[in-house]
């Protein structure tokens, strides 16, 4: 009956897998630094670029962790980032008011997210289905607005001087830190986060433990909506224009980020709030390293293939984590 040795081994491996994403991030960071240095490129600029590329992904994905924790999936996050940025720009151009623009961005982002989850609970369909519909609708409306108003330029924009003062590392790090800490607190130190993790692990049992499934789904979508709003705002801070393709890759990158961060895609008790942050930056670092190491003239897509292989490897390793290991009876 003494299974201690197995358990010790199991726990050791679990701990290792828990810290693996962080180790990977550190390693990727070191590799990037070494590569940039050895090629004689400007390291300070590279770090800034990587941060700028990663910050929007990290913010949106951190909000999205709440949804993924429930074992759910929101494919419309990229589209709602685009949509809220679009309406934000339209609002500014109509009113010349920055506060109103920010208000609209967040209102729209949270509103879209809420709509997905409320529709799902009203019609008793998986929320994933409503987000698929939302994705099509939001990107179509945004594209319509952008092309109608953008005309020959093909995009709409706010004056670049408006948010330029905010386009610096200090502001962005502050935004990321504050949002992440709030999420961290809600996720790990309140009943909300704990109940969401439990719900993701076993919704039937959660329901029979008095957890109201719809209520926590809605809270998760609101958190994700706030992340989308911040992401849309940071997108505008980096480039003050919106085109129909803005934030187009965010939706899929969120999945990659969360997986790279070591969180099971099925959510549940092993969900980690830091996954999005760690995974998001790891992914961006990896992409940049590959682009630096692989000569772009070899052909398009080589670095994508390498990063896909890496993705599968990560899924496999993290899979070892939650593929439950039954002890002998």
């Amino acid at each position: 009956m003494d299974n201690e040795a197995i358990l010790r081994k199991y726990k050791r491996r679990q701990r290792l897998i828990d810290i693996l994403p962080v180790v990977a991030l550190a390693a990727l960071f070191a590799i990037l630094v070494a590569t940039v240095q050895s090629k004689g490129y400007r390291l300070d600029m590279y770090l800034k670029i990587v941060f700028n590329e990663g910050v929007v992904l990290a913010v949106v994905a951190t909000g999205a962790v709440f949804i993924y924790t429930l074992g759910s999936f929101d494919i419309s996050l990229g589209a709602s980032t685009l949509f809220s940025a679009t309406l934000g720009v339209m609002t500014y151009n109509a009113t010349q008011s920055l506060p109103l623009m920010i208000l609209v961005i967040f209102g729209v982002a949270v509103g879209c997210s809420l709509l997905s989850s409320v529709l799902a609970s009203v019609f008793h369909i998986p929320v994933f289905v409503t987000t698929v519909a939302m994705m099509s609708v939001l990107s179509a409306i945004a594209a319509q607005i952008i092309t109608t108003n953008g005309g020959a330029v093909g995009g709409i924009s706010i004056p670049s001087a408006l948010v330029k003062p905010l386009d610096n590392m200090g502001f962005k790090i502050a935004v990321l830190a504050v949002f992440w800490l709030i999420c961290f607190f809600v996720f790990d130190f309140t009943k909300i986060g704990r109940k969401q993790k439990f719900l993701g692990g076993n919704p039937v049992c959660a329901q029979l433990t008095g957890i109201q499934v719809n209520k926590y789904a809605i809270i998760a979508f609101v958190m994700a909506g706030i992340g989308v709003g911040l992401g849309a705002f940071l997108t505008l801070v980096y480039t003050p224009s919106v085109t129909a393709t803005t934030a187009g890759s965010i939706g899929m990158n969120i999945v990659v980020a969360i997986v790279f961060g070591g969180m099971p895609i099925s959510g549940g008790p092993r969900s980690r709030i830091y996954s999005a942050l760690v995974g998001g930056f790891s992914y961006i670092l990896l992409n940049n390293i590959l682009k630096l190491l692989i000569d772009s003239n070899i052909g398009y897509g080589v670095s994508q293939i390498v990063s896909a292989v890496f993705f599968l490897a990560v899924v496999y390793v993290t899979g070892l984590n939650y593929r439950s290991q039954m002890l002998p009876r």
């Binding site: 081994k9 050791r12 491996r13 897998i17 693996l20 180790v23 990977a24 390693a27 990727l28 070191a30 590799i31 070494a34 590569t35 050895s38 090629k39 004689g40 490129y41 400007r42 600029m45 590279y46 800034k48 670029i49 700028n52 590329e53 594209a143 319509q144 092309t147 109608t148 953008g150 005309g151 020959a152 330029v153 093909g154 995009g155 924009s157 670049s160 997108t235 980096y238 480039t239 003050p240 224009s241 919106v242 085109t243 393709t245 803005t246 934030a247 187009g248 890759s249 940049n288 390293i289 682009k291 190491l293 772009s296 003239n297 398009y300 670095s303 490897a313 496999y316 390793v317 070892l320």
Partner: protein, 385 residues
Amino acid sequence: MKKALALILALVMVLALAACGSSAPAANNDAPAADSGKTVKIGVLVSDVSGEEALGFRAYYENYIAKNYNVEFTYTEQLEDAAAEKAAIEKFAAQGYDAILSLAASDRTTQIETCEANGLYYAVVSGMLDDAQFEQFKSNEHFVGQIGPSMDTEFEAGYAMGKYFADQGAKTVGIYGAFIPNPMHVYRTAGVLAGLGCTYGGASDKDGIAGQLFGDQGVDMSKVQCGDTQIIGYFQGFGDTTFDELFAIIGQQPDAFLSVGMATTFFADSLNGANIPYSDIDSFTSGNAANMADGTLVYLAGKYSSSIGPIFAATLNAVNGNPIRDAQGNALSISQGYLVATDSETFDNIFNGDKGDSPIFSKDLLDTVIGAVSYDDFVSLVESK
């Protein structure tokens, strides 16, 4: 456990390789100035990596220009949005590049501002800024300029095509609007309507028609009023019903089928087979030569691959300290029209005249404008072709 360890090991190995393997000497970030011994590094922003035109451009730069001049071109991956464009420019800057040539158009304002902030020269290779944007940046010393079809040129290309068929006496035509609301296709389509002698929502001028097409996201047939030439069908985009829409038009046996882009790629077989004369705005390729010689392609407007030679020359000059500016010190802005072929002979002349090793803008020709040359000399060279 073992696998995790293996992964870490692999990472460490990659790290070691990256650290030791690179023997590239540290490039210095100084301006290359006039030192002709130093390779000029140019980053190219692209939003299309697979189109015929894009491939032709790339081949010209990489296989011809790079062999004949001391320059190195680095192409980006497909840039999806403004943020990707900005990041790409910043990376080129971090790598000590000298100039950016842009084929990507999500946000040109940000592209120019980013180049300026990082001290890179910038030129638009394909397409043009809109008037307000050009006004804003024309005096910016990092902005080399733009040579290409402006929206006016796009409209004119469509207009010439429409007028060609109207003059030929076509009574019934079908129109393919390609990827409206892509601005290029909007202006071409507006031009086609005007060239055919039609009005759209009462408007007959460029801005009047194009503005409404942007609003309608396509051509609303109920707003079209035509004279002698009737439009019997219109469609755009590419999806499940595209071929049904095409066959509905073919079934009515129109006198001509006018396309503002991509028809030679999508519909050539169907149109050749149905014996319907058609036109397109595309490029001078062997496929199109065959469509014109053996099929029913009767009108092709297109760019040729080496049309992007002069903007390279202007950029190289700027990097080497010989910027070409007009009398007011403004950046270049030269509208480069399309070449049109309506018969195989013309087509072949253009096609054969711009082959890989002997492009229209050859080294000999470009050398006449490299170095300290006047604005007028430069413009006259571009306009000579």
